[in-house]
Amino acid sequence: MKGGDATRPWGRWLVIGIPLVWLTLFFLLPFGIVLKISLSQGALAIPPFQPWFGMEDQWLNATLANFRFLLTDNLYAAAYLNSLKIAAVATFACLLMGFPLALGIARAAPRWQAVLLLLVIVPSWTSFLIRVYAWMGILGNTGVINTLLLWLGLIDQPVVMLRTDFAVYVGIVYAYLPFMVLPLYATLVRIEPALLEAAADLGAGPATVFLRIVLPLAAGGILAGCMLVFIPAIGEFVIPELLGGADTLMIGKVLWQEFFNNRAWPLASAVAVVLLGLLLAPLWLFHHQQARSMALHR
């Protein structure tokens, strides 16, 4: 008895402790470093910022100058807002496409569900970068779509799609659709068919059944899917870099440029810290809803 009691906490600490150590070492600590750099002054040095505890007169070199700079140049605000807009629109597009897809899979015969889910996931087995490059081949002026349309005689000139915001949307929706479909499927498949029948039995037509029963019961999945698409889409760098035009302004691109092109590590860090701050609100909302739906389902 005593031995059992003594060993159980050990196992528990191990289970909680390993991810805790992992997150501390590889997430919290690096973030602390980023936060520290964002409060440092830039310098022509390696690494390109001044240490907090300089040899000179100041005893602490911490500064909010980088954050203040983000406010002075409109570029940053515009990049943040544009990222929010692109992520929001892409998330909504994912929802519009993902919902019928998830519903279709959830309603399919059980032996087909696993196959259909696999088809949603299979593209992710190829490198993300290669799949984005593939879209360059599809959307380009000599790409698959334009070649086909020209051959059919529907257009005389190639339609410019690559290096536009449109291409960025296509890329994000394509890349993140599985993250929308999977949580949606998980909630939709749990809705008891008897609930839909009961609603119909009580006089609700198909549209009402969908709006009053299916949508509310899928709310958790909708929110989860939207968060899983929205949050990474905001900071997306590869897709706007490869598919977007020079004028496609996204904060991920700005961050990259500050860090690598301008070697402004403190400013880049400040950009990253603010981005994280912006994401805290939706994350909190998501967490709140998860806790609520868990309480609802016991």
Binding site: E192, A194, L195, E197, A198, A199, A200, D201, L202, G203, A204, G205, T208, R212, I213, P216, L217, L296, R298
Partner: protein
């Protein structure tokens, strides 16, 4: 036939899945305000039949007529029929009151009338104190009451109950059966219920329709179906029964184990099966004067509280079950000789199973 007798009328109703008939050629009339139980083993087609009434299952052939109106092509949400689902199917995201109001909202009723009707319904099922609760906060019996209130709220012409007691434990079942029966009687609603539990069918229903392999094999009041079963299946499904086979000597006599025992309506000279309920058998501790009782030996006794079931072996017949009431003193000991006979009405001549 008066209009009330054929309030709900099914004609040649049929439905098959992948070529297999789930419901085959069902003819049935249910009277206004009648509680009718479809009784049968699982897979007999009773649930399919109920779902066809609700509009949740397609009709392959035949017709459903309710109060003079053909329902065949009406979708579920347009039928004046409401169903209480087996696991109740309460909407988990809505409160008790909103669950009950759901059907009323679809009727375009105004908010004041909806509130009044919801209150009335919750009072009927004694759930007024729980109006704001969510379904998962309720016990099984409470959930059933809410489901009943929800299905009665729209004042359907026909109420359907799908295995109403299946989700409740035994103790609660008896109590809820009584409550449900009283509510159904008090509001005079026409009701078709589906069950595999013969006790439930017998206590709840005015008439029982016994189903086997998609067909109605016998329809009648509980006493009639129990006392005068038509087939072996009907006899065995309604309760414990002794099925005895012998050649009929006359319309009133059947030869069993060398004796002539009373029955009614047998065809002379034909090998006949009679059904005798264990409680209909009279047990004698000495040979009766008429000399035609079956002579047997007690092989065992099962104590059931209010009564005992004796197992009696009679040479040339399968072992018989005999129910006797009373105290242990009156019970013949195992191994003792006993004589069995019965009244002519209690040995029911069966038709061959179809």
């Amino acid at each position: 036939m008066s209009a009330d007798e054929g309030f709900l009328s099914l004609r040649a109703l049929a439905r098959s899945f992948d070529g297999v008939g789930a419901v085959a050629h069902v003819d049935l009339d249910v009277a206004r305000s009648e509680v009718f139980a479809l009784l049968g083993p699982s897979g007999c087609g009773k649930s399919t039949l109920l779902r066809m009434l609700a509009g949740l299952e397609r009709i392959d052939a035949g017709s459903i007529r309710l109060d003079g109106e053909v329902l065949n092509d009406q979708p579920a949400h347009k039928r004046p029929v409401n169903m209480m689902f087996q696991a109740y199917a309460l909407f988990p995201h809505l409160s008790v009151a909103d669950n009950v109001a759901f059907g009323l909202r679809q009727m375009g009723m105004n908010a004041t009338r909806i509130r009044a009707r919801v209150e009335e319904m919750l009072e009927l099922v004694r759930m007024s104190d729980h109006a704001a609760r969510r379904p998962h906060q309720l016990s099984g019996g409470q959930q059933q009451r809410v489901a009943l209130a929800r299905s009665l709220a729209r004042e359907p012409k026909l109420l359907l109950l799908d295995e109403p007691m299946a989700a409740l434990d035994r103790q609660l079942r008896v109590q809820m059966q009584r409550e449900l029966r009283e509510i159904l009687r008090s509001i005079q609603i026409t009701c078709v219920l589906v069950t595999h539990d013969r006790d439930e069918a017998m206590t709840m229903a005015d008439r029982i329709g016994l189903m086997q392999a998609g067909r109605l094999v016998q329809v009648g009041p509980p006493e009639e179906v129990y006392d005068r079963p038509r087939t072996r299946f009907a006899a065995a499904f309604l309760g414990q029964v002794n099925l005895l086979e012998g050649v009929a000597e006359s319309a009133e006599r059947i030869r069993l184990a060398g004796r002539l025992l009373p029955t009614r309506g047998a065809v002379p000279g034909v090998l006949t099966t009679v059904a005798v309920r264990p409680e209909a058998i009279e047990l004698h501790l000495s040979a009766p004067a008429h000399g035609q009782a079956l002579e047997g030996t007690v092989r065992g006794a099962e104590y059931m509280g209010a009564h005992r079931v004796l197992e009696v072996a009679v040479a040339g017949l399968p072992q018989l079950a005999v129910i006797i009431a009373g105290s242990a003193q009156k019970t013949p000991p195992v191994g003792s000789a006993v004589w069995l006979d019965w009244w002519a009405d209690d040995a029911v001549v069966l038709e061959p199973d179809t």
